[in-house]
C-alpha cells in the first residue's frame, strides 16, 4: 500500500542512480524511499520525538540516581543498612527489594506510556507516509 503522499520521494531520471544505496544497504532498493528529511521536519514526528524524550530521559535519570544512591548506601552506610526492621529483615534488604519494585514500576509505566501515547501516533504517521501499519 505504497500510497504516494507528500513524504514519498519521487526518483528523478534513471532509477538506479537517483538513490545510491549505502554500502551496508539494509535491504532497501533503489526505488522511491520515504523522504526522511521531510518526515523529520513534520510536526507529527517532532511531537512524537518530544513526547518520547520527555519521558525516557527523566526516567533514565531517576532510575540511575536511585540505583547509585542504593549502591553508595550499601558501600558507605553500613549502620543504616544493617538496622533490623522486623525480625532479621534489614533496611538493606528492604532497600534492595525496593530496587526490584521500582524497576518493575518504571517498566510498567513505560509500557503503558508507549502503548497509549506513542504507538497510536507512530501508526498514524506510518499510515500517512505510506509505510503502513507495523
Amino acid at each position: 500500500m505504497a500510497t504516494l503522499s507528500s513524504f514519498t520521494r519521487i526518483p528523478e531520471g534513471e532509477q538506479y542512480t537517483a538513490f545510491q544505496p549505502g554500502p551496508d544497504d539494509s535491504g532497501r532498493t533503489a526505488e522511491a524511499g520515504p523522504d526522511y528529511a521531510a518526515i523529520r521536519r513534520s510536526p507529527e514526528f517532532l511531537a512524537i520525538r518530544r513526547r518520547l524524550t520527555r519521558f525516557i530521559f527523566p526516567m533514565v535519570a531517576v532510575f540511575f540516581c536511585w540505583y547509585m544512591t542504593y549502591v553508595l548506601l550499601a558501600a558507605y552506610a553500613h549502620g543504616l543498612m544493617s538496622h533490623r526492621v522486623v525480625g532479621s529483615v534489614t533496611v538493606g534488604l528492604l532497600l534492595g527489594l525496593s530496587q526490584f519494585v521500582t524497576t518493575v514500576l518504571i517498566m510498567l509505566a513505560y509500557v503503558r506510556f508507549a502503548r497509549k501515547k506513542v504507538d497510536p501516533q507512530v501508526a498514524a504517521l506510518r499510515e500517512r507516509t505510506g509505510a503502513g501499519r507495523s
Binding site: G22, P23, D24, D25, S26, G27, R28, G33, P34, Y36, A37, I39, R40, F45, I48, R49, L52, I56, M59, V60, F63, F64, Y67, M68, Y70, V71, L72, A74, A75, Y76, H78, M81, S82, V86, G87, S88, V89, T90, G92, L93, G96, Q99, F100, T103, V104, I106, M107, Y110, V111, A114, D119, V122, L125, R126, T129, A131, S134
Partner: protein, 530 residues
Amino acid sequence: MTIAQAAPVAGEPALNVSIFLVIVAVTLFVVYRVSSRNATAADYYAAGGAFTGMQNGVALSGDYLSAASFLGIAGAIAVQGYDGFLYSIGFLVAWLIPLLLLAERFRNTGRFTMGDVVSFRMRQRPVRAAAANATLVISAFYMLAQMAGAGALVALLLNVHSSGGQALVIAVVGAIMIFYVLVGGMRGTTWVQIIKASLLLSCVLLISVFLLGKFGFSLSALFDKAAANSSLGGALLDPGARYGRTDTTKLDFISLSLALVLGAGALPHVLMRFYTVPDAYQARRSVVSATWAMVLFYLATLIIGYGAAAIVGTPAILAAPGAENSAAPLLAFAIGGTILLAVVAAVAFTTILAVIAGLTLTASASFAHDVYANVLKHGHPRPGAEVRVARLTALVIGCLAIVGGILAIDQNVAFLVALAFAIAASANLPTILYTLFWRRFNTTGTLFSIYGGLGSCLLLIIFSPVFSGSPTSIIKNVDFHLFPLSNPGIVSIPLSFLLGIAGTYLGKDDPDPQRTDELEVRSITGIGTT
C-alpha cells in the same frame, strides 16, 4: 537435620550425566527440526525475525543468565551474604537501559549486528571494524569465563578430577554447542535458550518455594537460620562482608556496580536478540518478558543463597570442591537427594552450553557480517558467501573456545565476566547512545569512544591487582600494578563518554546528513524498516 556435610558433592555422577544427556537429546532434536538447510543471512543471524516478543524474552533471559549467575550468585549469597545479593540488583536494574533506550531503536535501524547501528550514518569500514573488535573481545572474555566454569562444574558434579577427563568433557560440551550453532543458526540457538531458560526458572522457583515453605514462609526465620549456620554470623545479613574491608574495596564495588548496570544492555549477544522479532513493539515485549523472568530468578537466588547457608552451612560449602559454586548443588542434594542434585547439575550444564552457543553465534555474525561482508568485500559479498563465512567462523570460534576452556581449567578467570560488562559499558554504550541521540556525533567520535573504551579497559585491567601484586593475581612474583581497582568501569566509562565528545569535535568529518535523518526517523517510527 543438616546431613549434607557427610555427603559426596557429586551425588550420583551417572544419574547427573543421564539427565544432562536427555536434555541435550531434546535440544538437539529441536535444533534439527527447526533448522532450515538453505538458510539466508536473515535466517541464520536473526531467525527471519519470526519469534514473538514473549519467546524472545525468555530466550533473552536464557542468554543473560549464565552459569555464573546461577551458581555464582547463589554461592556468593550463601557465603558472603548481602554483598552477593548486590550483584543481582545490578543485573536486574540494568534491564531498564535496553527497555527505555535501546531495544526498539535497535530493531528499527539494524539488521544483524551492533555494527549495523553504529555504522548507520558513519564511514562504513573503520566503524564496522571497530564494532567487530569490541564484539569479538567482549564475546571472547565472556566465553572463556563460561568455559572455565564448565571445567569447575565437571569436577564438582561428575566427579571427574583428572585433567584429561575434564578436557574431554569440555571438548564434548564444545562440540554439542558447535552443532547447535552450525545447524540451528539463530533459530535453533533461540530454541535452545528457551528450553534452557524454562528449565532453569522452573528449577530455581520450585526450590525456593520449597525452601520458603520449610521456614513457614518467614524470610526472617530463614535469615536467622542462615546467620546461625554461617561463619559470619549476623554479619551475613549486612553489607560489607566482601566489599566493605577497605576504602579500595568499596570503590571497587562502586566501579563494578556501574559496569553491571550500564554494561548489561550493551552486551553484543543481548543486542543481537532484538533482531529476532518482527518489529519494535515485539522488541519492547521481549525486554518486558525478560525482565519479569529476571525478577523471579533473582528473588529465587536470594532465597536459594540464604537457604544454602541455612541448610548446608557455609563451612560445608567452602569445604566442597568448587567452594562457593557448590552452594546450589549442595542445597539441592540436601533437600531433594540425588535426583534433585542431578537435575540442578544438568540444568547448570545446559546453561553453559546455551550461553556459549549464543556468544559463538554473535561473534561469528559480527565477523562475517561486519568484517567479511562489509570491510573486506565492501558490502557486496557473493550470494551465500556471507553465511558460509559465518558458519566457518563459528566452527573456528567453537574450537578456540574448547582450547581456551581446557587451558583455563584451574585458572581464576571469573573476573573476565565483570570485565566483559565493563568493556560493553565503556566501548559500546556511549557509542550507541551518541549514535542514536546526538546528531553531531561523527566517525571520529565513534572510533574514539569504541577504541578508547576498549583500550582503557584492557590497560587498566593489565595494571590492576587482577594481573599482579596481590595473592590472587594471575602473574605471581612480579608486581607491576598501578591501578588499585579490579574493575575499570568507574574510570573507563566516563572516559569513553568524554572521548566520544572529544573525537566528534576534533574530527573534521560530518556524518552523512541524509543517513542521519533516516536514522532518526527510522529509530523512532520504524518507517522503511524491513
